[in-house]
């Protein structure tokens, strides 16, 4: 965990209610794929936990959805403004667990951490397939970015306006991707629907309303095979065999 001031380089909408926030800060090392940050938002007591889409030294790209007053206040912030972040939170994805072929599955704003995961897997010489699920074509984000990073991308939309009609579970059945390890991030109902369809070797990035994001408050606890765990501190990424679903 590190506390640091970042400067907003860009804060732009990329889909309805979804923003890409580009932040810079000198001399900051990059984060692991799947780690998250807690952003102090003007006028709110608690910070907002946000996914890191891409990180490199000195630069962070966050993707967030406006869901309430805090994220709305964040969306109103202009380039040049400063934000105080806690960074390096959570465990991140296990890149090493994939031998050769990775499958990435993301739904809605849950696709946010996939670009860095894809980049790091590719840098480690792995092949990457991705299945992205959205309600409708206007919500579709990150397909081009993931393709540019070397992934083979399939899209599913509920209304069929882009890609396969249906859920990511439908896409998974149709596409029949070839993989030895998988990574899932999205809304809890999506992850629970995927759970029985996927083999043992894989992991899920979970979400829950958080208090502190640093393991101090026990607000985001889930039951695991190994007892109660804090999503912010012991996760957010859990191996499939840790989840008693």
């Amino acid at each position: 965990m590190e506390k640091r001031i970042y400067t907003i380089a860009a804060n732009t909408p990329v889909a309805p209610a979804v923003y890409r926030l580009e932040l810079t800060s000198d001399g900051v090392p990059g984060l692991r794929a799947g780690q998250f940050v807690e952003v102090a938002v003007p006028g709110k007591y608690l910070r907002r936990p946000l996914s890191v889409s891409l990180s490199e030294p000195g630069r962070l790209t966050l993707l967030y959805k406006v869901v309430g007053g805090g994220t709305a206040a964040l969306a109103a912030m202009e380039p040049g403004a400063e934000l105080e972040l806690l960074t390096g939170l959570g465990n991140g994805f296990d890149i090493e667990a994939c031998r050769e072929k990775a499958l990435l599955i993301g739904g809605g704003i849950g696709v946010a951490p996939l670009p860095q995961l894809c980049r790091d897997l590719r840098a480690a010489g792995k092949q990457v397939w991705a299945i992205l699920g959205f309600n409708t074509a206007s919500e579709l984000i990150l397909r081009d970015e993931l393709e540019a990073l070397g992934a083979t991308v399939h899209v599913a939309t509920m209304d069929g306006s882009a890609g396969i009609r249906g859920l990511v579970t439908d896409a998974l059945r149709q596409v029949r991707p070839d993989f030895d390890y998988y990574y899932v991030c999205g809304p809890m109902p999506m992850m629970r629907a995927l759970y029985p369809l996927l083999p043992e070797a894989g992991e899920f990035s979970l979400e829950e309303r958080m208090g502190c994001g640093t393991g101090l408050c026990f607000g985001c606890t889930i039951a695991t095979i190994d007892g109660p765990k804090r999503i912010c501190h012991d996760g957010p990424v859990f191996k499939k065999n840790m989840l008693p679903w």
Binding site: A40, Y45, L46, G211, T221
Partner: protein, 303 residues
């Protein structure tokens, strides 16, 4: 001039009066990677019960102006894990006095937990919580009645020779008889205050935000209420008081001590900023200089 920030709690010297509060500092060792735990005056460990508890379903947190509601519900691995694993692990990381925080659902449970804490060399002080609003029996009900508070204190006093603090709830019309009952039964000190019961509703979903419906409100908005409670209890009792409730800055430490506190606990501020405690500690000497305070103990209860 070098400023003296040390205080004494139950015969134990603290290098400064700043203590992270129970339930807002993980198990106690999480922050060791971010700063030296020896900088803290003391550490209150996560609230512990006789049996392990998963706690309440999520969501457990609801934000509010000036703070938050929590309904964690005393998630903890049980007293045996505290004394055999957690407290020794924190003790290995620092020499800072460790305070075990004990909750129970009966007088006997409090007693057994205090006996186990008493037998643990890693624990310096026992804080008995008779004020948790997030469990459906026991907890706060012991803290709202002087006779029940006395019964728990008496049993805890029999169980331990370590300094014994009783943590009280603000959910009472008059704190004085409860504070005095604890003092008369041999408590070495009091911690005031725990959270105030509250509720928030998601107006779009037409549901309570918290799965538990209600939770305990904490944060800066609670601070003036805590100062008032501390001041009233300090006027009525001779035992030391740990002031708790919304403390977020060095100024709050001074104010709480002027109200009658010997030390303070920092709770919600840790959740907003995990470096809150060392930040407050670092700010104390300059503030003391500004206010012409050489020795922090000199201002305890001057109001």
């Amino acid at each position: 001039m070098v400023k003296d920030t040390s205080v004494t709690l139950g015969g134990i010297r603290l290098k400064n009066p700043v203590i992270p509060a129970s339930g807002t500092f993980g198990f106690g060792f999480e922050m060791a990677e971010s700063y030296d735990l020896n900088r803290l005056g003391a550490i209150v460990l996560k609230g512990t019960t006789l049996e392990p508890r998963f706690g309440n379903p999520t969501p457990r947190i609801a934000e509010c102006p000036g703070g938050l509601l929590n309904a964690v519900g005393l998630q903890n691995p049980g007293i045996d894990a505290l004394v055999s694993d957690i407290a020794p692990r924190v003790r290995n990381l620092c020499d800072t006095p460790l305070i075990a925080n004990i909750s129970g659902f009966s007088v006997d449970e409090y007693g057994i937990c205090c006996e186990k804490a008493d037998a643990c060399d890693s624990i310096d002080i026992v804080e008995v919580n008779i004020s948790c609003p997030n469990v459906h029996q026991g907890g706060m009900t012991f803290g709202t009645d002087p006779a029940a508070a006395a019964a728990v204190t008496r049993r805890a006093r029999q169980a331990t020779r370590k300094p014994l603090f009783i943590k009280l709830t603000p959910n009472v019309s008059d704190i004085v008889p409860i504070a005095k009952a604890c003092e008369e039964e041999g408590a070495d000190g009091l911690t005031l205050i725990n959270t105030l019961p509250g509720m928030r509703i998601d107006i779009r979903r037409r549901k309570p935000v918290l799965a538990n419906r209600t939770g305990g409100f904490s944060g800066p908005a609670l601070f003036p209420i805590a100062v008032r409670f501390v001041n009233q209890a300090a006027a009525a009792c001779r035992i030391p008081i740990i002031g708790c409730g919304g403390v977020s800055a060095a100024e709050d430490v001074i104010e709480m001590m002027m109200a009658g506190a010997t030390a303070v606990q920092v709770g919600s501020a840790n959740l907003r900023d995990p470096l809150a405690c060392p930040t407050i500690i670092d700010a104390l000497p300059a503030l003391m200089e500004q206010l012409n305070i050489d020795k922090l103990e000199d201002i305890i209860g001057i109001i």
